[in-house]
Symmetry: C2
Subunit: 126 residues, 2 copies
């Protein structure tokens, strides 16, 4: 990934309303959520929400699709993944100390895919 694109994505996430918004969309999954619903949930005016969604959208972190009168936003998981890879790869050029711990993240599966607890399958509450 290009440096400027990474900055654009980092900037998009580096703000309270937008990070909360993004997390909400992550939880919503590929089906996404309507702009109005997002505005209601985060308790911000429609115009503000629209502006914030545009920022995330311009950064490629979310995608919009129209469904009737609603516009549904959903996370672009690939874009987010690319950003994480960029940040991680960048740091692994010569030293593993930053990256190794990522392997211990509950949902980060070993690359050969051996059997393990697979906690990513469980729901948040479980």
């Amino acid at each position: 990934m290009e440096l400027l694109l990474a900055i654009k994505r980092l900037s998009a996430l580096a703000q309270q309303t937008r990070l909360e918004l993004f997390r909400l969309l992550v939880k919503a999954g590929p089906e996404g959520m309507a702009a109005g619903e997002l505005a209601r949930r985060l308790d911000v005016p429609a115009s503000t929400m629209s502006t914030q969604l545009l920022v995330l959208s311009n950064a490629g972190l979310v995608r919009a699709r129209r469904e009737g009168r609603s516009i549904i936003y959903a996370v672009n998981f690939e874009a987010m993944r690319d950003l994480l890879v960029f940040l991680t790869k960048d740091c692994c050029g010569g030293r593993a100390e930053m990256c190794a711990p990522l392997a211990s993240i509950a949902c980060c599966e070993p690359k050969s895919g051996e059997k393990h607890e697979a906690p990513a399958r469980t729901r948040r509450g479980g």
Copy 2:
């Protein structure tokens, strides 16, 4: 990690001079690099560099130590790791599609630590 701390760290990285600065420090490793050397390398005035270093420092992403007349900055790998974990864990609440690819990053070791190419050992030029 707290949301506000994550935002602080994302903001710190979401700027061209600082992201380049941070990457430079990552390459420098735990030994770090002097503020003046960083300013020279990125071709910015000392006061600007100092301000940017303060931002990274306040976000906990770098640490400063004095060595003679120089002040040496080094990446706080743990802080960066925590941020990556925060961003990743956040996204893994129910869905692995964003996180699974992280396992394929060259330096991201399987958690049981089986043998693999271990590219993280090689230097950048090698």
